[in-house]
Amino acid sequence: MKIHEYQAKELFGEYGLPVQRQEVAADAKTARAAAERIGGEVVIKAQVLVGGRGKAGGVKLVDSGAEAERKAGDILALTIKDLPVEKVLIAPAAEILQEYYLGMILDRGSKTIVLMVSAEGGVDIEELAVTFPEKIHQLAINPVAGIDAPALRSVLSAAFPVPQLREQAEDTVYKLYRLFLEKDCSLVEINPYAKVDGEQLLALDAKVNFDDNALYKHPELERFKNPEEYSEDEIEARNNGLSFVSLDGTIGCIVNGAGLAMATLDIVKLYGGDPANFLDVGGSSNPEKVLNALRIILGNPKVKAILINIFGGITRCDDIANGILMAMDQIDIKVPLVIRLIGTNDVEGRRLLVDRGFRVAERLSDAVEQVVKQV
């Protein structure tokens, strides 16, 4: 789960991390009032769940209430990488003397939590990692052993040679690590971690991602959920127990199992088609799930044909066939369906469908070839 900067900063505040006073507004008038309450020069920042806000014109400095209202209005009218800006964050404009970077991520390869520190923050850290990898200092934290204090000091000294600043950064890292573990994060990032007037380090931006598998342990994070993280059909699919990602193409896909679903999309592309979605109906073979899957896919006007690819294991092919027939009776399917069934109870499943006039393939390549021809 991803959350907005203002939400991440709220969480940072709970952990005693150095954040500024902030207000959030969903309309220009409220933004103006917030700017006037804060007083002086303020920054107005678009709250969207993607990077690159600055370049898209989503971050503006203003020094009056009237200007705040105007600029906030402009920002709230923006759409950044397909996401409409619905809220802005208003905070005091900070006089930045230097920008650093602090981040923590779960590293699958080394099976540790890796802390990344750089004295060159403010830029795209992934770009920096490619162009100047030596400018990012790293510390691998074994979760069983915890943070090795001398090793942390030495890593931080590379970016913060001044002891006073290093101590502040050290305090920030310990708090960030506690947040990472306690809230089951997969990523926390402060960029920029900025030195401002008075030799003080502040988190001027904040990014936190949570592990979806662990959300059940954290009812307190419920309030941070943003429906716009997922498209409408993705949410509907999730409510129906389906794993779904919308894509841009014209061929709707229904597959059982995530790996086979991904491979099916790849093969559709290989044959010159363009998949409209990733959809995994999961391991169980409830006919209702197939019906719901078809309904969601048919809700997408771009879909010109549908490919159903089932390799029965726990999933029974006759249940899938019954789901398809149920859908035929309940919804008007105007696009061609291409079906491939194999595995548990495939003979029964195929018979059910053939009796109703469907052609059912056995080989995946054949099915893909057929569906691509339909669009």
């Binding site: 779960l106 699958r108 390869g109 099976k111 939590i113 992934e126 990692a129 490619v130 074994n142 979760p143 069983v144 573990l181 089951d184 997969s186 592990d211 979806d212 598998n213 662990a214 059940y216 342990k217 794993s243 990602v245 894509l247 597959v255 059982n256 199992g257 995530a258 790996g259 086979l260 679903a261 991904m262 491979a263 999309l265 790849d266 093969i267 559709v268 592309k269 290989l270 998949p275 990733f278 995994d280 391991g283 390799f311 029965g312 294991g313 726990i314 194999i342 595995g343 548990t344 080989r363 995946l364 390549s365």
Partner: protein, 288 residues
């Protein structure tokens, strides 16, 4: 021969009275696996299809030699089940459960390592040596005994690959689903080493997907250490960045974990990469 399991492997099922546990315990038994006991706390003393049920792994261990345990408990209890089996010294633990929190898995990884036992999974279909033993949920009938080792991050995609192997007359020594999560107990490299040393394995199919860099590491390992032919397949070539494609581990983040990078790594290591599962048998024939 086979790796990890053979026809003497005695298996217990943790979560045997649950919906999935009971169904698959019965199926494994019917498929010829020596399922000697089941564990469900509070249900000790009962029986499930003639399989004795115990309250704990330790209790089951008093009455049976346990070579492997397979876990079907819900995600909330999976970590405790893994640790219970590890504490009892069960040498092979297979966790089928999907949805285990990643930080818990990180700790479990070190925990089982310290106990000196092997964990497969979580979020995996298990493993099978056709004709000898099946610990997991894969359909037996698509498999044939033979010389191909299969290692995969996926479930149904593995079935697709195995189906194509069997159809082409290529049986399997052992097929292992390592799981689709970011942190898993046993990775590609551990299993490649076992297959390299298994006299009955003549070639290996490695099925990877987007996310992480384990395939890249495996490619390097194959180049440096494997004499047997390896054919790879990588799914997710058409996946958009930043979206989790079903598996918790299948996500392209920060430009890393792309299918292109993995395919490139395999190609550079001299490993043939199939574009579709039905190309795999031909590529294996061409190499072995």
């Amino acid at each position: 021969m086979s790796i990890l399991i053979d026809d003497n492997t005695q298996v217990i099922v943790q979560g045997i009275t649950g919906r999935d546990g009971s169904f698959h315990a019965k199926t494994m038994l019917a498929d010829g696996t020596k399922v000697v006991a089941g564990v469900t706390p509070g249900k000790g003393g009962s029986e499930m299809e003639g399989i004795p049920v115990y309250n704990s792994v330790a209790e089951a261990q008093l009455a049976h030699r346990i070579d492997a345990s397979v876990i079907f408990v819900p995600a909330k209890f999976a970590s405790a089940a893994i640790r219970e089996a590890a504490d009892a010294g069960v040498p092979l633990i297979v966790c089928i459960t999907e949805g285990v929190p990643v930080l818990e898995m990180l700790e479990n990884y070190y925990y089982v390592g310290e106990k000196g036992v092997r964990l497969i999974g979580p979020n995996c279909p298990g493993l099978i040596s056709p004709g000898k033993c099946k610990i997991g949920i894969m359909p037996l009938r698509i498999h044939r005994p033979g010389g191909i080792g299969v290692i995969s991050r996926s479930g149904t995609l593995t079935y697709e690959v195995v189906y194509n192997l069997t159809a082409a007359g290529l049986g399997q020594s052992t097929c292992v689903g390592i799981g689709g999560d970011p942190i898993i107990g046993t990775g590609f490299i551990d299993l490649l080493a076992l297959f390299e040393n298994d006299p009955d394995t003549t070639g290996v199919v490695l099925i990877g997907e987007i996310g992480g860099e384990d395939e890249e590491a495996a490619a390097q390992y194959i180049k440096d250490n494997m004499s047997k032919p390896v054919v790879a397949f990588v799914s997710g070539r058409s996946a958009p960045a930043g979206k989790r494609m079903g598996h918790a581990g299948a996500i392209i983040s920060g430009g890393k974990g792309t299918a292109e990078a993995k395919v490139r790594a395999f190609t550079e290591a001299g490993v043939a990469v199939a574009e579709k599962p039905d190309e795999i048998p031909g590529l294996l024939h061409g190499r072995s």
